[in-house]
Assembly symmetry: C2
Homo-oligomer: 366 residues x 2
DNA sequence: TTGTACGCGTTATCAT
DNA sequence: ATGATAACGCGTACAA
């Protein structure tokens, strides 16, 4: 009568073939099995706030039967009733970027602490189709949306987002841009200055800069570099500023032009660790010793920065703080109240000195 | 009368203060504004498959009004009607792991191509609370769930998952384990053998192995290493096998014991690139030249493997193929039919020779 | 060609 | 202490 294969820890549903998903059990079925009304089941299973007493008798019986039947509340029906979906959308400019990878990790942790799950939208997968992202995300119902990176250029996306019934927060959205939602970021200027001060203390005067093309933070760091150099009366020779795509390969290709066109350069500030890693690789390939012949300083302190060869001196991004703050602004207890203009909050980065920076040596041996 | 601030591209809803999310517009409101029945709006907006003609007149009018009002279909209500949620759950053993990071990227792309979004579950965030993951994911309604890594130890989670009304697929779930769902993975044995054959061709005979503690693939690679060494009549000296956590730091700490206890070792096979990167770092810190004095081969070909110093010889995991296949098995056109036992599919890895492996030198100088 | 009515699974407000 | 009933927003068979 019973099948040979025993279903382990059977819940009383007999003979279900493993594999195909089980048909969900509804409250009505539980009610029928318990011989009570469906509304009663709802009250019992939800410990209704109405405080209306329920007989211990039926309560335990209903709970038992619900467990036996493997009842699971349907979140969709609950959501239709107005319950929050407990979903937080994350739109990431480039999920390949190791920095954003770390940020997403921090996001999942911050969300989990609040009972939320993360819905991932990768902005890079489809170029102009950034609109499609919205469509994808609109099709879901997220209680909030967190933007990772600068999306000011994606007017269509930002506009669409505003029409969504969800709270929006921008992370690392750049400092210069207008934004109809609160943003949280880092003080790029102070980070860049800390890095350059460090190099100056080591005796470097000929410092190059490798940045990325994207907006927001990249512009801030670029500007801070130019400003600092100017303040210290240091000229920026031709070729000492390279703007490349923010990939490993970008940094890899940036070193050649710098050393060829500005041979006096003794240190390079990279706008991101991703670029710095590429620079490290390029230096090795070119036979340039780091840090003896060339110092390299990154920005972000991504996880691999501690284990590069040599380990990377960099500016640590307070990722956890920024993400946590952003999540709070979005779905926390005191979300943005709607006051205009929306706030921009900035956290302070911190210089981490490792093995890729050392004292400058005079290019002219005596 | 009107506020000073003009709302750009206003949709006809006047005076909405920017910031707070707009109240959603329902079909009923659209119908009321257009002077038709709600069902009519539904038909028009959905190009109903019933082929029932609709007058061009009202159709365009309704569409216009819907657009003006900024109508958005409510995905929750649709889902309640039985429509798929177009959500795919991803449960990742450790989202910090650079390998899984790449896999998730591939997942988002594969999903987007099918109109799906990814809901991220990080298994590492909460230790024993793996159960909570289920709770979190159960609270959502995913059409399918993809497991990244080996979860056979998490019986509770797998059991709970089976109760979910969703299709499940396991990726990199190990070859030895029973699994009540289809799995897709890599041929670890052939990958390891390719790596070791490569080292043998370079003249290496004293080859160490650094593996990780987790299950599944790690066990397969470990066993394949032992098997290969045995087949070639090569002894495995004490200390030549190190099992460490699968982090950069794990590989970093593994090199010391190997070189101290088995000084004849001239090459190390790492079970993952993550470990290999740590080994590279440790070798540099110890002053051991790679590849001149020590060859290191990894496994996975994570993105950074091409830019380490030196670049890493490794076994390339066909990530995209595996993920794509898994997604198809889960939510594709021909998902797993339920035949028992569920299939396990394997893809072939490929050796990528880079700069971290070179010919062995005799330890005894003449 | 369009309107009416029902149900999806819940929760909440009434009655009983 | 519990049962009946009305929403929630949408799709769809059925009636007009």
């Amino acid at each position: 009568m019973a099948t040979e294969r025993q279903v382990k820890a059977s819940r009383g549903v007999a003979g279900r073939r493993p594999g195909e998903p089980r048909k969900p059990v509804t409250m009505i079925e539980v009610a029928a099995a318990a011989g009570v009304a469906q509304s009663t089941v709802s009250r019992i299973l939800n410990d209704s706030p109405g405080m209306i007493a329920v007989s211990e008798q039926t309560a335990t019986r209903v709970k038992r039967i619900a467990a036996e039947l493997g009842y699971r509340p349907d979140p969709i029906a609950r959501a239709l009733r107005g319950a929050p979906t407990m979903l937080l959308g994350a739109i990431v400019r480039d999920i390949t970027d190791p920095f954003f990878t770390g940020a997403v990790e921090a996001l999942t942790i911050a969300c989990k602490a609040r009972g939320y799950s993360v819905v991932l939208g990768n902005a890079r997968a489809t170029e102009d189709e950034a609109l499609a992202i919205t469509a994808v995300l609109e099709a879901r119902q997220c209680d909030g949306i967190v933007l990772f990176g600068d999306f000011t250029a994606e007017h269509r996306l930002v506009d669409d987002l505003e029409d969504l019934h969800a709270r929006i927060v921008g992370l690392w959205h750049g400092s210069e841009n207008e934004h109809p939602f609160p943003t949280v970021g880092v003080n790029n200027r102070s980070g860049v200055r800390a890095a350059l001060d460090h190099l100056a203390e080591l005796g470097h005067r000929d410092i190059a800069y490798v940045g990325a093309e994207s907006l927001g933070d990249m512009q801030d760091r670029h500007a801070a570099y130019v400003e600092w150099m100017s303040e210290h009366g240091l000229p920026i020779p031709d070729g000492a500023i390279q703007i490349v795509p923010n990939y490993f390969g970008g940094g890899n290709h940036a070193l050649g032009p710098i050393l060829d066109r500005a041979p006096r350069i003794s240190a390079v500030l990279a706008a991101t660790d991703t670029l710095a890693v590429g620079l490290l690789h390029a230096a090795h390939a070119r036979g340039v010793q780091v840090p003896n012949e060339l110092s390299i300083v990154g920005f972000d302190d991504i996880s691999m920065a501690a284990v590069t060869v040599p380990s990377l001196t960099t500016v640590r991004m307070p990722v956890v703080e920024i993400v946590t703050r952003g999540v709070d602004l979005c779905i926390g207890e005191n979300p943005w109240s709607g006051v205009w203009p929306p706030p921009r909050e900035e956290f302070e980065p911190r210089l981490i000195v490792r093995g890729s920076s050392a004292a400058a040596v005079t290019t002219q041996p005596l």
